[in-house]
Symmetry: C2
Subunit: 202 residues, 2 copies
């Protein structure tokens, strides 16, 4: 018997990753499932598909209008504060690189939640190094060495490798969840189903 | 106090419209919500967006692979038989036209369920007039006059008008649900939320 586990693939620019990131810890604990947070760069996967260099919610206008309303309704239902980021999407690569550092050092999940809160509840510019530095400092971690490591060649390669892995797993959107036996679940809507599947695998 | 109602926008080629169509009557009855079935032609909306003349699940390959697995899991969970249509998508315009006739005559919902069952559980070719005629006959309705009315100019215009209305409502996919106060919900995943919203409106 292995302990049930689930990989949580997150993208910091992704709207539906916000409620998933804020909900997953409590739900996973209740289900007895260990979650591994896996930041990746969804834009690179869109680019590999030949898509425009922008969020599909911007160039697919009807779907985009719907998404904002749907997200607002969802957040209200979850009791999560919500404020639409401006501009959207926010540049997310720096946050993903810092999250990779933080996940190696034990503060990555708290950092990821802080980024989503800053971005989708507080209207902050998460692409700015000063904002990311403040969020790191807020966790009691000195920001300068973290930002230097985050932007180092080794860590940049780690984010590229994670993104390549996501693509090999068939991931095409965020949030996504992958169980130990390779079942892929896409979307905040599938978080509960993914945890239930992981639980049955344990 | 108006009786709560919900418009159910369905497309016969749409995969996730299958579980929605098979589930909605029972759920709506339990919620005390009257459902109006609204067939439309989603392909025309995709075309107006400049998209390829094919299902996005075919030209967005990773998403398509995921959708088939997701649908299979969902149907298993709902206890619905499932068989992948071949070819996919099935031509759906004739079914939509016949459904419009049937909805005017009181047998449209049963016909719609029969089409989805034939298409997604029995592997039948729902683009063939002979198959559609059999499904109509199975409801105790003589098929020849129905097929003639379905393909008449007035009924073709009615399907075009429904599709234009869907587009004006902001619909970009199927199934979709619209409440009396204009809230749009997209996807089989949102059926319960749409019914709950309609109920609060009543």
């Amino acid at each position: 018997m292995i302990a049930p586990s689930l990989d949580f693939w997150l993208e910091f620019g992704s709207t539906y990753s916000y409620p998933a990131a804020m909900r997953i810890a409590e739900l996973a604990q209740a289900a007895g499932v260990t979650v591994r947070w896996r930041p990746f760069a969804l834009g690179a996967i869109f680019k590999a598909q030949g898509w425009p260099p922008d969020s599909p919610f911007n160039w697919q206008q009807a779907k985009g209008r719907y998404m904002w309303r749907d997200l607002e309704r969802l957040c209200a239902g979850y009791g999560l504060p919500f404020r639409r980021p401006d501009p959207f999407p926010q540049p997310s690569i720096l946050a993903a690189r810092v999250a990779l550092v933080g996940l190696r050092e034990g503060w990555g999940e708290d950092f990821a939640r802080a980024v989503y809160r800053a971005e989708f509840a507080e209207g902050r510019q998460i692409g700015e190094p000063a904002v990311i530095g403040e969020l790191v400092a807020g966790l009691g971690v000195p920001p300068e060495p973290v930002l230097a490591r985050a932007n180092g060649a080794e860590n940049k390669d780690a984010l590229r490798a994670a993104t390549d892995e996501a693509q090999r797993l068939g991931i095409f959107g965020a949030p996504s969840f992958v169980t130990a036996d390779g079942e892929l679940f896409w979307g905040n809507d599938r978080l509960e189903a993914a945890l239930a599947w992981a639980q049955r695998m344990g």
